[in-house]
């Protein structure tokens, strides 16, 4: 039994010793061996099982991967004095764990330093730039002639090409912020503007202005509709009057011509014996008398005379 105990003891001691003199570096990690707090040798970047001196040496581990930095949302005035909310994001990695360990100790320390650096760089660049410049990119182009009056295009904004544009500003931010990073053992991979927008009070103003603009456009459309409608109706009226008056004129001409022709015919015919025509026409008109007519005969008239006597005159 003692032998078994002794064997067990040996196994345990060996295990403890192995445990204390090995360490594992994960695929995602890099490590620095420290001896009584003092870094020893170069950083270990190979993942796997590694040896160290037991008990006196310890391992500090750092992430090897690309890390995300997300800053606070900042209110910054632009060059045009508009207050905007800017939310930036950046990617960084620990390239020099030794430097990193000495200067910022850990990720928490690094983050506060990065916060300070990027925030101030972003603040500097945003406040020195017009909002258009931050929003648009270098390949901005606008076909002004394609803008319809009813389109949602702000009329009070200069639509010119930006001098730098967003991508270049982001590059400037990266370059500016990167200057201090090597001393922290950090590499900044990119800095990007994630969100940029008006602050609430400006937003409401812009919204109100947009609403007013929309309403005036709507009003214009309506009155344009009425105007065009009136125009069309006026043209219609003109056309109607032209058509009917022309027809009346033509009709009168035709009638007049016919009347003239008839007059000529009558004139020629009746001109042959006007006296007889008068007699003939008078008799014709008597025939038109009806039952409601009262005929007055002068006692001197020929008819009456024969009624009184058949004596030959």
């Amino acid at each position: 039994m003692n032998r078994i105990n002794a064997l067990l003891l040996l196994v345990v001691i060996a295990a403890l010793l192995i445990n204390a003199s090995t360490y594992v570096i994960d695929q995602a990690e890099q490590g620095i061996v420290v001896q009584f707090g003092e870094p020893v040798g170069s950083p270990v970047t190979e993942p796997g099982l590694h040896w160290k001196l037991p008990f006196v040496q310890d391992v500090r581990r750092f992430d090897k991967r690309l890390l995300v930095w997300d800053g606070d949302v900042n209110q910054i005035p632009t060059l045009g004095r508009e207050f905007v909310i800017v939310d930036t994001t950046a990617r960084w990695r620990i390239v020099d764990p030794l430097m990193f360990l000495r200067s910022v100790r850990d990720e928490h320390g690094a983050r506060t330093r990065i916060d300070d650096i990027i925030d101030s760089v972003v603040r500097d660049i945003i406040s020195g730039t017009n909002l258009e410049e931050i929003v648009r990119s270098h390949d901005w182009k606008v076909a002004l002639d394609e803008i319809d009056e009813g389109d949602m295009v702000r009329s009070d904004v200069d639509l010119g090409k930006p001098k730098k544009g967003r991508a270049q500003l982001e590059k400037d931010m990266l370059a500016e912020a990167s200057r201090l990073m090597p001393s922290l053992g950090i590499e900044l991979v990119d800095v990007r503007i994630k969100r940029i927008n008006y602050i609430d009070s400006v937003r409401r103003q812009v919204e109100n202005r947009m609403v007013a603009e929309r309403q005036s456009i709507a009003e214009r459309f309506r009155s344009e509709g009425q105007g065009r409608s009136q125009e069309i109706l006026g043209q219609m009226e003109r056309e109607l009057r032209t058509i009917s008056s022309e027809a009346e004129r033509k009709a009168a001409e035709v009638r007049g011509k016919a009347d003239g022709e008839a007059t000529r015919v009558y004139g020629v015919a009746y001109g042959a014996d006007p006296e007889f025509y008068a007699f003939f026409r008078t008799l014709e008109s008597y025939k038109a008398m009806g039952a409601n007519t009262t005929l007055m005969l002068d006692s001197d008239s020929e008819y009456y005379r024969y009624l009184q006597s058949t004596r030959r005159r």
Binding site: Q27, I147, R195, R222, F276, L295
Partner: protein, 343 residues
Amino acid sequence: MSSGQNILSGLFGAQAKRGGWQPNPSRPGRLPVIVLIVAVLALWGVLSAFYTVQPEQRAVVKRFGAVVNIADPGLHFKLPFGIDQVQLVATERVLKEEFGFRTIGESQPTRYADSELPDESLMLSGDLNMIDAEWVVQYRIADPVKFLYAMREPVRTLRDISESVMRRAVGNRLGSDVLTTARTEIAESVELEIQQAMDRYDNGIRIVTVQLQDVVPPKAVRPAFNEVNEARQERERMINEATKQANQRVPLARGQANRVIAEAEGYATERVNNALGETARFRSILAEYRSAPDVTRTRMYLETLNQVLPDVGQVLVMQKGQVSPLPLLNLRDARPAATVEAK
């Protein structure tokens, strides 16, 4: 972080306690304890020596923290006791990130969270208008090792970059274009640009598609925006109505005009024909009259009266110097309506 170390220390720590000196080492029951320990260890070793990979997954196998293998779907063996560790990654599944809205659950029909996410969806267009855009990014994990070990937070990075890229794309266009014609163009350029960023990070993400969902003006402006569209419709409607009225009335007027002219032409023909007829008759009578003027004249006069008198209501004879006329015949009780004086 090293689980291998933890496991070793845990394992041997436990054994050290149990295997420590006892007051009476030769007590019966010692051996079964060791046997028990060995059995537990053996069971753990067996259970931790294999793993299964689902069809849509790939397994990344790490030995002492270092990636040694990527396993396809199926049943696989590995070194036990946490020496080999397995991370499963769904490489075949198309994953989705939503911006500006959230789908709730997997229920049918799909429901969306009511609360809007203005911070995520509100952005500025190139003419500094505000646009509320919602979109979806679909992606696949093309390389599980890169996905796990190139970045610490690849999905969060994808979200950040998507927002940044979408804002750049929208900011590079006029608000009206974004709302109307440029949608597909934006989606395509955003997809391309996100993929470029992911490739730069080399994080194993492959973008499948970027789809714009609702792209609208901000909520407060929307009613006014609709008003413009309505007014535009109204303008068209008013113009159409006026045109319609004109189209109705002008052809009618043309027809009426033609009718008036045709009637006048009819009148003209009638008038001339009448004249020709009447004069022809007159000429015939005149020709006969001239052969015997006196007789014919008297005959015509008497014939006419003969024809007229029976129909005449009343005949009055006027005597010279008398005030009232003499009634000659009172055949009918007729009111004198018209008076013709015969000479």
